[in-house]
Structures are given as C-alpha cells and as structure tokens.
C-alpha cells in the first residue's frame, strides 16, 4: 500500500510484438474529478485502461489505484476500481437482472442493489433477455453494473458510445454526481461535447504517447486566445495569408477555407483592430473567437477535424 488516492500511472508501457501500443505513459486522475481520456482510434486508450486494471499486463511501469499497487493479475486493484470495457459483448441468453448478478460477482450485495436501481432509473427492463436489447440498452446495462458498486475509482471505456443525446446526458449527470461524492473517474470518449462538459482534467493520447495533459479550463483559456477567420474559398484564404503578415500573433493552422490565429493575451481587441486596419486583403466571411475548446485542441494535436 502506498499513500495515493485516485489513479497514479507512471511509465506504463506495453508493446504487442513489434508495435508499441503504449510508450511510457504518465498521468494522474484525482478523486472527486472526471478525467477525460482522449485520442483517435488506435491511440492506446483501451490498452491503457486494460493495463490499469490488470486485464492486459503492462511490460513496464507502475500503477497505483486508491493506494493499491497493481501487481499479479490485478485482483486487488479490481476490488477498488470498477471497469467498463469498450467492447460490448454480453450474454444474450441471460436476463438483464441475471446479467447484472454475473457482472457484479465478487462485489457486495449493496453494489448489486444499487446497480439495479440505476438500471431502473435508466428505464431498462430487467426481466427481458439481453438479446432483445438494443446496442444502447446494452451499453446502459454495462454502465449500471459499473456504477453500482461503491468503489473509489471507476474506469469507463467509451461508456456513452451509441447512446442518444438524452441518455448520454443522463449518464454524464450520474457520473458527475458520483465524482462529487469523491470518486475518481477516468472516462475515455470520442464525444468531445461530453468530455468538455464533464471532465476537469484531460489526457490526450496519440500513437501510445501522452501528447497533452492538463485541465480542461486551460484548454478553454488557450482556445480563448484564438481567432478563426473564415473566407469565401481557399484562394482567398491563401491571398489573405500572404498579405496579412503584419497581424499580431501567429497563424497556427490553415483548415479548408479558414485560418486560425493565436494571439498574445486574453483580450482579442488589438488583434481585431489590426485585422480591421488591413487593406487590399479579401474580406473574411466569418470570425470565430473563444469557445472552440476541445475541437480546437483535437485539431492541433491530431491534425484532423473533430465534429
């Protein structure tokens, strides 16, 4: 036992043959917070989560979850951490009620009761066979099983994948409530909106490496110093870029018809003043400032548009 709550991962490394799935990964997830794990497909999110609970053995590194060091097959860690895999394969022949019992084997009776309550709250028919469930209902059943037991750490791999916006909102609200009670939650997601809403801290992976680690507030502040200038077409964008060299700050990206400028300071007025003073440049069609947040970060980190 070491004195550390939440999740502490240091130098977690995993290779599958010659392919390095996780370069040494370091990050913390604190109690009372939802930490978002972001990254494109194949970036190592699921492998990292599996390594944290001992389902996949890390080649090297150290993981401590709620003061319990990961060792052996990770049984001690899985007692203090509930994990929901991203892979959604359930036993169709079981009733939802039976499936919850199966999923929560090794947990307390209270955990099972709580999972049933959550399933009812999500309006899942507990006496129906799982094979009759839609993809979203199966996802919710797994979510209920993960949120049921009273454990200090929860690790959820794409917990809201395939859910409609209403259910997605309900799940995020439950997670927020759980975090407020002091649980450390690690949530991987491709849905930037939900990460933006729920997560205080972000860990972004790319090709098995952490490419960004920081608070969501920092991302927003950083996004607040950016201006996205949209033009009629790419020709106008290029013309503008060639002539607008006197603008303060720097051009960070050219995406489609738009240019993204990053300027110094939180006040955009000097930048906008200099923009207005420009002569003989194509007029912008639109200006976006401020709340671009995660999409912007995603574009910066991975060089692709997120939607």
């Amino acid at each position: 036992m070491v004195d550390s709550s939440g999740i502490v991962a240091r130098g977690v490394t995993r290779a599958f043959g010659a392919k390095l799935a996780l370069a040494p990964v370091d990050f913390d997830a604190k109690p009372g917070e939802i930490t978002g794990l972001l990254g494109p497909n194949g970036s190592g999110k699921s492998t990292l989560m599996r390594c944290l609970v001992g389902i996949t053995r890390a080649d090297a590194g150290d993981v401590v979850i709620h003061g319990v060091r990961l060792a052996g097959d990770g049984l001690a860690v899985r007692r203090v951490a509930a994990y929901a895999p991203g892979e959604l394969a359930l036993f169709g022949e079981l009733k939802a009620r039976e499936h919850l019992e199966w999923l929560l084997r090794g947990r307390t009776r209270e955990g099972l009761e709580r999972a049933r309550e959550i399933a009812k709250e999500l309006e899942l028919p507990l006496d129906a066979r799982v094979r009759t469930f839609s993809h979203g209902m199966k996802r919710q059943l797994l979510f209920a099983a993960t949120l049921g037991p009273r454990v200090p750490v929860r690790i959820l791999d794409e917990a809201s994948e395939g859910l409609d916006p209403q259910k997605r909102g309900a799940l995020i609200a439950m997670l927020e409530r759980d975090a407020r009670e002091g649980t450390a939650i690690l949530l991987s997601s491709h849905h930037l909106g939900e990460v933006d809403r729920a997560c205080k801290e972000l860990v972004c992976l790319h090709q098995g490496r952490v490419v960004y680690r920081g608070s969501a507030a920092d991302v927003r502040a950083r996004a607040g110093r950016r201006v996205r200038v949209v033009f009629q077409d790419e020709r106008e964008r290029e013309l503008f870029a060639a002539r607008a060299t006197s603008l303060p700050g720097r051009t960070t990206q050219s995406v489609g018809n738009a240019l993204v400028f990053e300027h110094d300071g939180a006040d955009p007025r000097p930048f906008l003043g200099a923009l207005a003073a420009l002569r003989d440049v194509p007029a912008p069609r639109a200006l976006e400032y401020g709340e671009l947040s995660l999409e912007e970060l995603y574009r910066d980190l991975y060089g692709v548009e997120a939607c």
Binding site: R57, P85, E87, A89, R105
Partner: protein
Amino acid sequence: MRREFRLTLWATLAIAFVLELLLVPAILFWPRFEDKLEMLSSMAPIQVLKDQLGFIEQTGVAGYVLAQHFFKVCSTLGVLAAALLASPAIAGHSLRGTLELCLARPISRRRMLLERYSLGAFALVAPVFLTTATIPMLVERVGESLDQGPLALCALHQSLFLLAIYSLGFLGSCCARNPWVVAGAVLFGGLVQLALYMVETATHWSLFRMSDVPTYIAVYQKHALDPRLWIPMVGVSVVSLLISLAVFSRRAP
C-alpha cells in the same frame, strides 16, 4: 456462477442421457449376443476385433458390458464430449468477445480458470459414474449380475482417461482464440488414435490401449487401477492444468 452451473447441469444431463440411451439396449441385447458370440468371433474382419470378442467369450457378461459401455461408448463419445466441453472454456469467450468482461470482475484468474476447469470436468465425469451406477440393475433384467465396486473403479479409470484428453483440450482453449480449432484438433487426434488402435501393426501406439477391453477387464477382476496407466493419465491432466494456469495468467483478451 448461476449461468455456469446451469450450463454444466444441462451438459451433464445431456451426456448422461445419451450414454444411458446407448447402454440400455446394449445390455438388453446381451442374451442374443451371447448366442451368436462364437459366430461373430469367426466373422470379425480384423485381428483387434477378434481379440476383443475373445475377451468377451472368456469373461461373459462382464467383458461384454465393459466393452459396450466403456470402450465403445464412453471412450469414443467421451472424446467428443471432452472436445466440446474443453474447447469453449476460454477460447469461446475470446470468440464471443466476452473474455474482457470475465476478466474485469474482481475475481482472480486462477479462481476463474479452476472453476471453469472443474465445471467442465464434472460435466464430463459425472455421466460416466451416473450411468455406470445403473449397470447392476440393468444386467439383472437379463438374468445376470455384476458388482458395483469394480464397476465404479472402471468408471474411475475411464474418467481419468477422459480427463487427460479434456485437460489437453482445456490447455488448447487457454492458448487459442477460436474454440472450433481446438475442438477440431482434439477430435482429429482422437480419430487418428482410434484408427491406429484398429491397425494390428500400429495398435500398440494408440492411446486407446489405455482404455480398451483388456484394461477394463483387468481393473474389474483385480479390483484395482493399474498405476502404470493411471499415473501417466493423472500426470497429463495435472501438467496440462498447470500450464493452462500459467498461460491464462498472462492472457490478454
């Protein structure tokens, strides 16, 4: 566990039903078989079969029942059952995609593996004992009698033979991702061994020599298992299980 227990119970009952279904008519056929034994023996196309019939001629109903129940039915169908019970134990979850869910629960891998092994082994072995227990009652219907004790020893020997095959299949399941590949390999191996048994010049290479009529007659008559046979069979099971534990402890979903 309820799901696993339920599946095990159904498998046990299904195997026991099939074994009993084949055992009852075989025993009821004994008087007619006895009448024609000499003729059948002279008609046997291969020496191995001639030898089997010779043993039955010497030992009467005991040899006949042991040949019918253990050698003919339990050994051959038992290999099939062993393949079907062992192959999906772990590889089945891998194919269905449920292995990660199994591993995500706060249960040690060792415990999970031993539970799966035990349940499959029970479903394989229990029907052998259950159906063997009905033999004395059935042979009374044809005016004969057999002792329960030596028959139970034969059932034990048969179980050890099947457990060795099951354990090898179980090890294959711990390594593989597709249970059908494991089942196919076990069945193919079983068929090759059975074919070898029937070839006079190669019969001594067959594993079915450990579970044939002379073996069961010896167990029945001596009231004891032969350590030259049961020790290797138990050894294969134990070693396979230990390797399975080692493989599974590092297995990724």
